[in-house]
Amino acid sequence: MTKPLLELIGVEKSFGPNHVLRGVDIDVAPGRSLVILGGSGSGKSVMLKNALGLMTPDAGKIVFDGEDVTHDQGKEREAMRARVGMLFQSGALFDSLTVWENVAFRLLNADKMKRSDAKDQAIETLKKVRLGASVADLRPAEISGGMQKRVALARAIITKPDLIFFDEPTTGLDPITADAINDLIIEQVKALGAAAVSITHDMASARKVADEIAMLYEGKIIWRGPASEIDHSGNDHVDQFVHGRADGPIQPAL
């Protein structure tokens, strides 16, 4: 088995009395696609933000490409982020910039690429998420929610990062576009050899893109296995989630 590109070891994170992550252990290797399942509010987004260094874990370690990056700042942190792409759950597009400037943001700023070249590359990447050149000069506020999501996706993959986080990539998309996004994620992993960590509630998407599936529950990874085993995991929590039943061990906190 190849060496993991990213490892989370015993990661804990609380907000006041709210103990969100209680010792998360997970890893992903280059060329592999990991899908994380978990109920709403279970801490999936918080886990990604800790992995990226947008939040600092209270305890535990984040290891990227063999280096402990948990408390990295400045140059070391930049070096890591240059190799990582992130699709935020909310899109997080810059509303003062046009669509293409959003997609090409890293090329224009960190990489100092010429604007005309950056724009060509942005339009090329927009095509991959099934958006035409006509949206390039619009502002994020002028396009639909699903289109914003895809623009954000284009921004996350434009530099062909080694590690990509997708926080609910297919939420809010029609089934055809969603499937195109699934293919795109697979292409990033299989053709470009990236490691992908996706969060999704969409089981069809999970089955299609995942090599491995893991489930986050009460701040820990309670199950992890090959995607093919998701239907016979032998874990009641996973079964309940996969079949979307309200009855079962997972009860909403009221």
């Binding site: 240059a82 792409g85 997080a92 509303d95 890293r106």
Partner: protein
Amino acid sequence: MSDASTTSSGGFPNPLAWLGRGTLGLLSEIGRISIFSGRTGLAAFSPPWNLTQLWKQIVAIGFYSLPVVGLSAVFIGAALALNIYTGGNRFGAEQFVPNIVVLGITRELGATITGLMLAGRVTAGIAAEIGAMKVTEQIDALKTLSANPFRYLYAPRFLAAALTLPILVLVADIIGVMGGWLVSVYALDFDSTTYIRNTVDFLTMEDVSVGLIKAVIFGMVIALMGCYQGSKSSAGATGVGRAATLSMVGAAVLVLAANYVLSTFFVQIGI
């Protein structure tokens, strides 16, 4: 309300606990603002500079503030002339209106009025904009795209405010003096030529510089308060609104406090 440590038996806040907590809160807030200001200053005074962003902010902060600054200044100058005339009348000193107007405007009112108006227009605007970026995860997105928010967002606003405030104050000085002249000539029967001659004779480079140096400091305060409150804005429209209000109040009070401190300093060194 049910927190036992802050409420005494009667249900009123325990004043000592309240005072203690308030003081600690204030101290740590000052600490956080200082660190934030230090990091912004460092980003502002060291390369690389983001010139595109700087230019955008100069236009947003400087150019678009011209109307509000001009209008405020003309009314302040006019009211000042009127009041000095009435006050001076009591001991036959009406003829000093042009002198006191130009002194008051250049040393004091031009800068304070500009500072206060921009604490409203600019600080609240910056806080709302940065706050909205914070709560929609755009600041996190900036970081993941290797753009440092101190360089990309805060430093350009800081520099733009520090650079444009003196220009705005200069404009306020000119328009404020004009406001005084208008009232004096058209309402108080001053002779226009004499009024202008007295103004020019009494005007000194020192007085003007005092106002301009104050303006640089006010500009820094205005931008820093907006960026700081915005950057720690909590989620939702209420969070952003609160950040805008807090930043505006903070900037206005700090502008007035800084004005007093700077005035004392300039008097001490004899300017």
